[in-house]
């Protein structure tokens, strides 16, 4: 069994009357890549700062490498951290920045130089070592920040939205490099992000937070294919949320009234009662149109409202008779165009693509707070 590197136990952080983090617990395994994901203000950065020792928790405990670090100051926690705006020391060169942590550890000069050189090569900026941060581009600064944190070989590397202030294109490139560094260096990474696609691209484990609590945690595929609440399904982006009422059961299916016809979901371990109002979530790319729709177990009819070109994908918006909108995602080279705007189009999806959301607050509207 894998060893636990970081254990967060019943962590709570209150500011005066506001509860930023509300009694959360999780475990990060040694060598894994954990992403704390959630909308801004959900408390993810607070958790990271408490792990780093930059904030004190109101309640709860943190264990790093088996040690309770409640009384351990930041500089003896064997962690290091990459900040959103890099926080490179402006009065030190790249080399001096990277060397800082090693000097703090009283490492001899020869070994220091060797390690600095090695890590600068790993992140691909050894030719910049005499420059000052102000002379570097955003991407280069981020590489220095990574090198500076990695060179001390911490038990845990904490990353606080390290790509947040970079261009989209640069983000995508550095995502790949951070993932590669993680694989090569076999350290434990805890990465804070509000960007789902970043989390999917990098995480072994996603901890999805909302309003100071954990909504769901697990592997990216688990979160994507088995969202457990309307919040999670909504956060995934291209998921259709259809309000339905439970009508009854047949064989292995739950029969649901969608207002414009019956739809079906697989039976659950704990089934809802007939009459209950729940949400059905269906991924936009799981929905078939036209002829392909006719072989599906779930079939409805929509009217094509809109077709949005998105590069590699096209999003079709259709409307059911009760004004409910359905998004359908198709790869743009798939060549099938479902008729003209305004024309009726058959919609369908497989039984196993119906995700029933039974979570307690499933009746809250997704648009809440917007």
């Amino acid at each position: 069994m894998a060893q636990s590197e970081v254990i967060v136990q019943n962590l709570t952080k209150k500011y005066d009357s506001v509860t930023a983090v509300d009694n959360i617990s999780f475990t990060v395994e040694k060598g894994s890549f954990c992403v704390l994901l959630g909308p801004s203000g959900c408390g993810k950065t607070t958790v990271l700062k408490i792990i780093a020792g930059l904030l004190e928790p109101t309640e709860g405990a943190i264990f790093i490498h088996g040690e309770d670090v409640r009384e351990v100051p930041t500089y003896r926690r064997n962690i290091s951290m990459v900040f959103q705006d890099f926080a490179l020391f402006p009065h030190k060169t790249v080399e001096e920045n990277v060397e800082f942590g090693l000097r703090m550890r009283k490492m001899g000069e020869a070994e220091r130089k060797r390690k600095v050189q090695a890590i600068l090569e790993v992140v691909g900026i050894s030719e910049l070592r005499k420059r000052y941060p102000a002379q570097l581009s955003g991407g280069q600064q981020q590489r220095v920040a990574l090198a500076r944190s990695l060179v001390v070989e911490p038990a845990v590397l904490l990353l606080d939205e390290p790509l947040g202030s970079l261009d989209y294109r640069l983000q995508k490139q550095l995502e790949v490099e951070i993932k590669r560094l993680h694989r090569e260096l076999k350290m434990t990474f805890i990465y804070v992000s509000h960007d789902l696609s970043q989390a999917f691209a990098m995480a072994d484990q996603i901890i999805l937070m909302n309003r100071g609590r954990i909504e769901q945690m697990g592997k990216p595929e688990e979160i994507y294919y088995r969202p457990r609440s309307v919040f999670v399904a909504g956060f995934l982006g291209d998921v259709n949320l259809i309000p339905v009422q439970v009508k009854g059961f047949d064989r292995n299916r739950i029969i649901l009234d969608a207002g414009v016809g019956d739809v079906y979901a697989p039976q659950q371990e704990e089934n809802p009662s007939p009459g209950e109002e729940v949400f059905l979530a269906v991924h936009a790319e799981s929905i078939s149109l036209e002829r392909e729709a006719e072989v599906c177990e779930n079939r409805l009819e929509g009217m094509l409202l809109e077709e949005i070109f998105q590069g590699s994908q096209i999003i079709y918006t259709l409307q059911l008779k009760n004004k409910q909108e359905i998004k359908v995602l198709k790869q743009s080279n798939s060549g099938r165009v479902p008729g003209r705007i305004g024309s009726p189009v058959p919609i369908g999806w497989k039984l196993e693509d119906s995700i029933l959301l039974l979570a307690p607050h499933s009746k809250r509207r997704v648009k809440d707070g917007i």
Binding site: F89, M104, V152
Partner: protein, 252 residues
């Protein structure tokens, strides 16, 4: 619009500097105080240097200003460092310090003289030190607080996560980054103390600093070597302020 502002600024600045200018002009006038400018001469500057009473006062002022500068710099660094944290009563404390600027100088000097009398402390140059520090401290704190920009807190956090303890952070991050601000504070404090008269006047006894000496001599009679001294003091203050400005703003 922009032209109007330019004219307005020019007029205002001329207006501020004309009195200084006339002082300077007359300090080079061999005729002295009276209007018709007679002849360019260094006569009054020579007299100034030959006046032991004035030169002693200058020496005293410099000594006091130097010690005030050191104390103010250290105290304002500590105070600004403390005031950076958000805590209950932070603003209240900040205003208690700022009060040092608005409090009537004469009242404050008088109060201190009374306080000393109660405690049995004799009047002397060093008796004026506390009131000088209290006068310069609020300015020092304001400059320091402006220098502690929010990014510095991030650098400190980064240094902590890299294994830096408090002393290492002070030495490696705060001191080099704030060095221009610290030096600026020191110079500003020096200049303010050197030019201070109101607060110290009742505390100095016979150890007059130079502004106190000028005030004392003026009650009797205005002599043109005071113009020479005023001109020198002003030039000195301008140079120090220029250096302060350059130090504080160089990094941005």
């Amino acid at each position: 619009m922009e032209k109007l502002l330019r004219i307005y600024l020019t007029v205002l600045i001329l207006f501020i500097y004309l009195p200084i200018f006339s002082l300077t002009v007359f300090s080079f006038n061999s005729g002295g105080l009276t209007f018709p400018f007679k002849e360019l001469s260094l006569e009054w500057y020579v007299k100034l240097l030959q006046s032991p009473k004035l030169m002693e006062a200058v020496y005293r002022s410099l000594k006091l200003a130097l010690v005030t500068m050191i104390l103010t710099t250290v105290l304002s660094f500590m105070t600004a460092y403390a005031l950076r944290e958000r805590f209950r009563g932070r603003l209240f404390i900040f205003y208690l310090f700022i009060l040092g600027i608005v409090i009537p100088g004469i009242t404050y000097g008088l109060g201190t003289a009374l306080f000393y009398q109660t405690l049995g402390i004799k009047k002397s140059l060093w008796a004026a030190l506390p009131v000088h520090v209290i006068w310069t401290l609020p300015f020092g704190i304001l400059i320091m607080l402006a220098g502690f920009d929010p990014k510095i807190q991030t650098y400190e956090a980064a240094a902590k996560t890299l294994g830096g303890n408090n002393w290492a952070i002070f030495r490696e991050i705060l001191l080099p980054l704030l060095f221009p601000t610290i030096l600026g504070t020191a110079l500003f404090a020096f200049t303010l103390s050197y030019n201070e008269s109101e607060r110290g006047i009742f505390l100095l006894g016979t150890d007059n600093t130079i502004p106190a000496e000028i005030l004392a001599q003026l009650s009797a009679r205005a002599t043109p070597e005071l113009y020479a001294l005023g001109t020198l003091s002003t030039v000195f203050s301008i140079l120090l302020l220029g250096l302060t400005g350059w130090l504080v703003l160089r990094k941005s």
